[in-house]
């Protein structure tokens, strides 16, 4: 569609939709099967002994196959967070929302997820609640699909 923009210039508006179907493979598949039972699994590297969450098929540092599965807690410490307050195309959920890195108890890496379950429009409340060392726990959705959003968000405890 041809349109004229605010600067008086002619613009051709169009869109591209590209469909993808990504293979999960054994590791991701098993990780998400765990989600269906409200369990979070990590894998332990045979060399460096780190427990990697989310689970994956090889250790990123040692390059070893990781086939020792370890259940970790669905509760842990917030290692970093950011409050998104702007709109952008294709965003996961309406702003304001908080994305955070969470070190689940028993894991040696941080997992990316949302923090919610309290008033996010109050910036003071948010910064007070999410101080260094704050702990959060997973809030699971009733209906599970076997994907990362089976966890609705993590709530401060």
């Amino acid at each position: 569609m041809l349109k004229t923009n605010k600067k008086g210039h002619l613009i051709l508006e169009t869109e591209a939709t590209v469909p993808y179907e990504l293979a999960s493979g054994p590791s991701w598949h098993r990780f998400f099967e765990g989600f269906k039972e409200e369990k979070i699994y990590g894998v332990k590297c045979p060399k460096c002994k780190r427990v990697l969450v989310p689970a994956r098929s090889f250790c990123s540092l040692c390059f070893e196959d990781t086939d020792e599965w370890v259940q970790v807690a669905d509760e842990g410490e917030v290692k970093g967070w950011s409050l998104t307050n702007y709109h952008f195309f294709g965003m996961p959920t309406e702003p304001p929302f908080i994305t955070a890195l969470i070190r689940l108890d028993g894991a040696d890496t941080d997992m990316d997820h949302l923090i919610g379950g309290f008033d996010l429009t109050d910036l003071d409340l948010v910064t007070k609640t999410l101080q260094m060392g704050a702990r959060v726990k997973a809030v699971w959705k009733k209906e599970k699909k076997g994907c990362i959003m089976d966890i609705k968000h993590f709530k401060p405890v």
Binding site: L2, H9, E15, V18, E21, L22, S24, H29, G146
Partner: protein, 153 residues
């Protein structure tokens, strides 16, 4: 037999806003008036359609506008008969390189207005060098497909 593992279905939808610029802008305007504009290089004299802002060989601005004939010769063609996601035209369709009269490059467009169900019949009809003529869409959107297709003369 391969083990079954889940797959993640995921579509990426992205919007675009291409700046048209004055040269292509004039071409699109022309389409809406059922005219085909090309432009001419002041150095080598080539007439290119669609028009460009600079000559790809001489690298100088092409600022002489030429209203180009709506008829020409088919240089190359192919019958596309497979579907892919987001294809702009539904198959089957014929993509062709058409040399409009008195121009110096081929225009990529569609040959239409004929029955495409029988490939042999199509091959018999569209011989190399056959002449075609522009057919316009009644509804204009300032788009390359305002030129609906080229039909055999």
């Amino acid at each position: 037999m391969a083990k079954y593992y889940d797959t993640l279905q995921h579509n990426v939808w992205l919007p675009y806003k291409f700046a048209v610029g004055p040269v292509y802008g004039r071409f699109y305007e022309g389409l809406q008036e059922e005219k085909i504009w090309g432009n001419k290089c002041p150095e080598c004299g080539k007439v290119l359609v669609p028009p460009r802002s600079f000559c790809p060989d001489c690298h100088v601005d092409m600022d002489e506008w030429v209203e180009v004939s709506q008829e020409g010769e088919v240089r190359l063609w192919t019958l596309a008969d497979y579907q892919f996601f987001g294809a702009p035209v539904d198959p089957p369709f014929i993509g062709a390189l058409i040399r409009l009269d008195k121009t110096d490059c081929d225009l990529l467009h569609i040959i239409g207005g004929l029955d495409l169900s029988d490939l042999e019949a199509v091959k018999n009809k569209i011989k190399r060098g056959i002449r075609v003529k522009a057919v316009w869409n009644e509804e204009k959107q300032g788009h390359m497909l305002d030129l609906k297709y080229f039909e055999l003369v």
